[in-house]
Amino acid sequence: MSKIVIDGRELDVSPDLTLLQACEQAGAEIPRFCFHERLSVAGNCRMCLVEVKGGPPKPTASCAMAVKDLRPGPAGEPPVVLTNSPMVRKARAGVMEFLLVNHPLDCPICDQGGECDLQDQAMGYGIDASRYGENKRAVEDKYIGALVKTSMNRCIHCTRCVRFSTEVAGVAELGAIGRGEDMEITTYLERAMTSELQGNLVDLCPVGALTAKPGAFKARPWELTKTDGVDVMDALGSAIRIDTRGRETVRILPRLDEAVNEEWISDKARHVVDGLRTQRLDRPYVRKDGRLAPASWAQAFAAIAAKAKGLAPARIGAIAGDLCATEEMFALKALMDLLGSPNLDCRQDGSKLHPKFGRASYLFNSTVAGIDRADAIMVVGSNPRREAPVLNARIRRRWLRGDLLAGVVGPQADLTWAYNYLGAGPESLARFVDHPPPAKAAPMLIFGAGAFARPDGEAILAMAARAATSLGVVKDGWNGFNVLHCAASRVGGFDVGFVPGEGGLDAPSMAKAGALDLLFNLGADEIDVALGAFVVYVGTHGDRGAHRADVILPGAAYVEKTGTYVNTEGRPRFAERAAFPPGDAREDWAILRALSDAIGAKLPYDTPAALRAAMRAAHPHLGAVDAVTPADGAAIVALAAAGGAPSSAPFASAVDEYHLTNPIARASATMAECAALARAPQRFAAE
């Protein structure tokens, strides 16, 4: 620890801190543009100038100087930093003036207005008049993709965007061409960016040079209502903030959560918003003479009741989709229990993971933050860049730190970090079944959901467990057996036991022709249900599930209801309701409750709170919001004893087209455009 005097306050700080960080610890606010905690230090904006005694006799960029770089005074006095001296104030005002020499005065038409660092800092530290009469620099706007709009006159050359895409996103696409006043931020020949994290550039850009293309000119930040939510586009459960105006969801931003998404979210999480408005089911439908016709809720329930009457429980089934809140699955399972049917499943992908193997067998046990500790990572049957881009960025950061043994079995893709490619199929995993453990303290195995969503999934799971035990990834204080799910609802479904009961059918069997007479489909849009059964679809979008339905009960999308989502680590997260479902649509719990009444098996929950309380009483760990309740690693050891021979089919990632994995994303024009760009990445702006 080093002593340092900041604004007259003496404190002890780590010598490795930058002056900027030390000043923050002392409670002094330092304005900045280029410095960002999660990016390398560039030191090019000069906004963070402070006065230092025991350093060079001029204003010093505090972000680029470390405490240990300062010399003590002649008699050994600690170095002195002033953050509010006349010199500092003058220096800041000067820097501000220089930055504004070329910055256009277009705040009234700039989407950053109201949340612009330049605006705020000009108010706080700048002067009130301009001394420049010259023309401002004019810079051509660049095409850099479907998500980020550029207004390059506004760029202040902080290079945060360049550093983010190179360092965090790991796809070096943005750069600064030219030099000096003529420096311009662009992609190579204005190609569209390919990163799944590019939306974060908009948050990083301290001015309005990079703004969100979808939703441009739609809203001002101060007119939006902000609600804390949970992202359901992947199984990471990133913390998001949902901004709404009236009934409409305007945008989605990340919330800081060090344990999960830090301050990033994926493009799908951010820009799926327009999918919440289009293709929505806003009234019940009943199929009449082969066509879906609008109906009232009463008519819809009557149709279901007529169908359900006298059916044998074994002819009734339920499948839950990928975006359901845990409460809904708990309620639907309770309904199936009341009806006496064992046919229920939340694994529409045909996965063979099952809670009977123990909770540790389906969780990302090391936790996401555990990636930082890992010293060996093997990914099996997954493309984490597509399945969970933010998690992949964390693996990349760990890899950048060096000294990481990285391997991949399964699809070979550009993951933004280098790895040893070990093979495509189970036979490559088999090599590790009798492998001596590597000399590693925190080895990690990451299995993609796709590795188990195949007919031989159970044999793969057993083999995975054997590899895990022989590689020693499960040990005291460390469980390196990890499943990376793709569906936000999956772990919640497993936790409440939304899987076939004794003798019950699983999802693929229920979807077969003639298996059932009545199927409750709770938002499962990734499975084809054969003709035959009477399908009651509870969901939000006119997607595959709705097309096959005989009765459609319009539900609420994730931003339109409160609910618990358990992420791939097993971390229950609670989402508030930000908006309202459109038209006649209702929250899913209420639909299930009314449905249960209609078919004479009334659920005992009258409010969402009562439902949640019942769920938490039955599964206490779901009440520990935001905390991971560790699962017992013994489950993995037990699982290793199971046998079975996997086929030799190569592993495939569960996600084929990143932008189109769920009904909301498929309804989004923005995601469709991104998907088209992803298919033809070399497309040029002008062509």
Binding site: G175, G178, R179, D182, T186, Y188, L189
Partner: protein, 234 residues
């Protein structure tokens, strides 16, 4: 410097000649593995030399491929340095220094001569012989004003001597490099000989001489203070 863009008309492809490729390999081998990107400037420069002194997009991509660098990183470098020409230039490509020392010694006159002879900055003569741009200080200020033509410096210029040079270059005649007034590198001009002739420069008496002025001033201030104190005492 103005905004720099790649030329509109681009050749389909670019490949180093075998000799140049071998030379590139020696440059790349200078750097430890994983640091090959360090060779980017020599490679770009060689590519430019091979391609009539300008750098096509295909060459930028070829160099990026050889060094395992993202295209944008190489484009950044090619657009940063004015020594890389991104569009075709004349066989004799003039870079005029317009920075202060050269400007004080007559660069503006050279500029007018170039505009008259070739056209505005950035243009090439119709026969493809000559082109010119203005650049910042090229580090030969002592022989200002100067220009760089292709790889060589031409110094101590006047509009007339520059005009003669351009005529010779356009006609393919041999020209004299360096100073055009006949001095060798940056020695004093012929006949001027040594300029620092004051012996005090060489006998050591100048060492610390600057201090005298301050000492005198201090003594004067002390005297004045003493006088003032005396006045008061009276």
């Amino acid at each position: 410097m103005a905004v720099r863009r790649l030329a509109e008309n681009q050749p389909e492809s670019f490949a180093f000649t075998p000799e140049n490729a071998a030379w590139c390999a020696t440059q790349i081998a200078k750097y430890p593995s994983g640091r090959q990107a360090s060779a980017v400037i020599p490679l770009l420069w060689r590519a430019q030399a091979q391609n009539a002194y300008w750098l096509p997009r295909a060459a930028i991509e070829a160099v990026a491929g050889m060094l395992a660098m993202p295209y944008i990183r190489v484009l950044e470098i090619a657009t940063f340095y004015s020594m890389f020409n991104l569009a075709p230039v004349g066989r004799a490509h003039v870079q005029l220094c317009g920075t202060t020392p050269c400007m004080l010694r007559g660069a503006n006159g050279l500029r007018s001569a170039l505009v008259e002879r070739i056209g505005p900055a950035g243009s090439t003569t119709p026969d493809g012989a000559l082109s010119w741009v203005e650049v910042e200080c090229l580090g030969a200020c002592c022989n200002a004003p100067m220009v760089q033509i292709n790889d060589d410096y031409y110094e101590d210029l006047t509009p007339a001597s520059l005009g003669g040079l351009l005529d010779d270059l356009a006609a393919g005649r041999a020209v004299k490099k360096g100073s055009q007034t006949g001095r060798t590198s940056s020695e004093p001009e012929p006949g001027k000989g040594t300029t620092l002739t004051d012996p005090a420069l060489y006998d050591g008496s100048r060492v610390g001489a600057w201090r005298k002025r301050f000492e005198e001033a201090e003594a004067k201030a002390a005297e004045a203070a003493a006088a003032a104190a005396n006045d008061k005492a009276k």
